[in-house]
């Protein structure tokens, strides 16, 4: 069933059969979360085993689509009955969890703190609360950390995770390294040194004078206290961040880039593909989402659309008598002209999309195209329908 290590998969099915971690990425609004859920649902359905979809998107809709009341940090199983109502008998189990940034940070501190007193001090520190609650980059890191933790526990055959909506799609790739750098930084030690030794070297005195004037010494002391507390977890943290980094580059991990055929998301997708290559990370597939149907680029249909737009009255007068019902030719002409105009409008967009696609650089072997679904996906059946579109391509 599994393809070899260096052999590239030809379909998403083969890709997901060979990997243990699938990370979907791409810019905001392209359908990352939905794609991740659809891939996980398909894997549970066709491949079997225990499959987890780990989402960072707090959207209720995904919980609803999976037939769950809500999802949180603890993994919950999607009822097999949900599959049966869609006419599927799944071979495996589908589980879901959502990243709770705050709870995950608290867990992490609990694991690494040397003793309960330090743990409680950290958990109560105002800076800690701020960082874990608001600091965007902490979100990136904790998502990867949680992924590592779940994978390490070894309860799942496959974990599909979507990535946080970062400013820059590669931020989360660098999050573990940045976190390790942060805690091992020379500057950090320099910053907290005076609060430890109460001695400021002549070299660093100007900095403290400036910093004092800007921020006030109380604030600097707060920062220092926070980091002194955190230093007690230093070794554990750095080791851990490095382990998380290794998971991303592990052979069992693959990335699925999701994009629409609009210029900005595609640009980001290309950049991401390039960055994966530069980091020697595995690019498994590209999923092009919300793509307009091929028939919009049919040139002979475009000729028909033009006729409808320009000769609506003439065509209406010839067609109206043959419709079998009483039809006002002028009303029919309006409809025909609208139909013709609409086709031409959508054709412009479809052509633009096709061109964008043709220009796409560095695309992987597996490129799956998902049509523009006319309806929103609101249940497991919808997710599976979407999954079926891309599964064997």
């Amino acid at each position: 069933m599994a393809t070899g290590r260096n052999q590239s998969a030809a379909t998403l099915e083969q890709l997901l059969a060979a990997k243990e971690i699938v990370i979907t990425c791409g810019s905001g609004g392209v359908g990352k979360t939905t794609t991740a859920a659809a891939l996980a649902a398909e894997a549970a359905n066709h491949l079997g085993g225990k499959v987890l979809v780990l989402t960072v998107d707090p959207a209720r809709r995904l919980a609803n689509a999976l037939g769950l009341e809500s999802i949180g940090n603890t993994e919950v199983r999607v009822e097999p009955g949900q599959f049966r109502t869609t006419g599927h008998g799944p071979r495996g189990e589908l589980w879901a969890a959502m990243l709770d940034t705050k709870a995950s940070w608290d867990d992490l501190v609990g694991r690494h703190a040397p003793d309960p007193a330090t743990r409680d001090d950290i958990l109560a520190n105002p800076l800690y609360l701020n960082i874990t609650g608001r600091f965007v980059q902490s979100h990136d890191y904790i998502a990867m950390e949680r992924l590592y933790e779940i994978h390490h526990e070894g309860n799942y055959d496959l974990i599909v995770v979507d990535t946080p909506p970062t400013r820059n799609a590669i931020d989360f790739l660098e999050a573990p390294k940045r976190m390790a750098d942060f805690f091992s930084s020379r500057f950090l030690r320099w910053l907290i040194a005076p609060y430890r030794s109460r001695l400021v070297s002549a070299a660093s005195r100007p900095f403290y004078q400036v910093a004092d004037r800007i921020l006030g010494s109380q604030f600097l002391e707060d920062i220092a206290e926070f980091f002194i507390l955190f230093q007690s977890m230093y070794d554990g943290f750095v080791d851990r961040a490095e382990a998380v980094s290794r998971v991303l580059s592990d052979k069992r991990t693959t990335f699925v880039v999701v994009s629409t055929l609009e210029a900005a998301p595609l640009h980001e997708a290309e950049f991401f593909i390039e960055q994966l290559g530069a980091r020697d990370l595995h690019l498994g597939a590209l999923v092009l989402n919300k793509v307009l149907p091929d028939y919009l680029r049919d040139t002979s249909a475009a000729v028909v659309a033009e006729q409808l737009s320009q000769q609506a009255d003439d065509i209406a007068s010839r067609v109206a008598p043959k419709l079998g019902v009483d039809v006002e030719p002028s009303a029919l002409a309006r409809v025909l002209a609208e139909v013709g105009d609409s086709f031409s409008n959508f054709q412009v967009v479809a052509m633009r999309e096709a061109e964008q696609r043709a220009e796409l650089a560095g695309a992987p072997d597996v490129v799956a195209t998902v049509p523009y679904f006319e309806h929103d996906i609101y249940d497991l059946g919808g997710l599976l329908a979407l999954g079926d579109e891309i599964w064997r391509r």
Binding site: S27, G28, G29, V30, A59, R61, L127, N130, I131, R134, F135, V136, Q137, P165, R167, L188, V210, I214, L215, G216, S217, Q218, F219, D222, I223, T260, A263, A264, P265, P293, Y295, D298, S300, A301, V304, A305, Q307, L308, I315, R318, V319, K322, L323, G324, V325, V327, R334, V335, L336, E338, V339, G340, S342, F343, F346, Q347, V348, M351, R352, E374
Partner: protein
Amino acid sequence: MPVDLLDRKLVFVTGKGGVGKSTVSAALAMLAARRGKRVLLGEVDAKGNLADFFECGTTTFEEREIQPNLFAMSMNTEESLKEYLSLQLKIPLLARIGPLARTFDFVANAAPGVKEILTIGKFVFEVRQGTYDLVVVDAVATGHIVGQLTAPESINELVQVGRVRNQTEWMVKILHDAATTGLVIVTTPEEMPVNETSELVDRLEATTPVDLAAIVVNRVLPELFGRSEEALFETLAEPAGVAALTDAVNGPVQPVLDAARLAVELRRSRAEHLAVLRERIDDRAPLMYLPYLFARSHGLRATHQLADRLGEELGY
């Protein structure tokens, strides 16, 4: 009656990723500039989108006139820090700024609110200086905008004394004055953006007095048929209709009819989401609508078209 959008001095534009936040910011700035205002358009997420919308080359922290009356810049927090230190805190010693800037990342990461305040502070500062009639900020996405708008208060909570604290007071005053500052949320008539928008509106009301100036619904599809016309279309799509139409034209009819059906379906599902949005927002903010552009690219021409439509929505 709320203050006219273009009569404010500072407008933040936010929205879920992918809804066209930058496009709308560009159109808004363009409209104001065309109406004779001196406008600064600032891009916070340095993705370089502005360059595409104005076909003007990359923008930097140093503002540059890219259209008549329209100046553009991209936020860079380190540059902003340097400017802040020299202008606001009267610390002219460049030699000391060097190591400080290098340490900046650590302080900024350790103290949430610092990066945000440098971002927001730059724009509020421009308003106080009065160099521009209007500052339009292509701001961060819905998930982070509240953190950014409330950064001065967060700083106040954390920093009890010092110059920074003194600096936050005038910022808060400008941000909280509805005649000066307004927030625009961009959305599309789709499920997720509509949800995020109404959630943000609730959160804003609960956390900050910053005025919600407008919600711009972007990419609204045109309505193809009225109700009686839709019945006619259905008759036309039946076998007899397709046959008659095929006789009357030279070429395949089915793709053209399929495309019309797709357009109708897309419009219908979007109309439902729009109705949900209207109901949830009620009279809490004015709604404005921008059409889906069937354009070849989103360059300068598209920006002009959207500016035209925005002008119509504002009653110009």
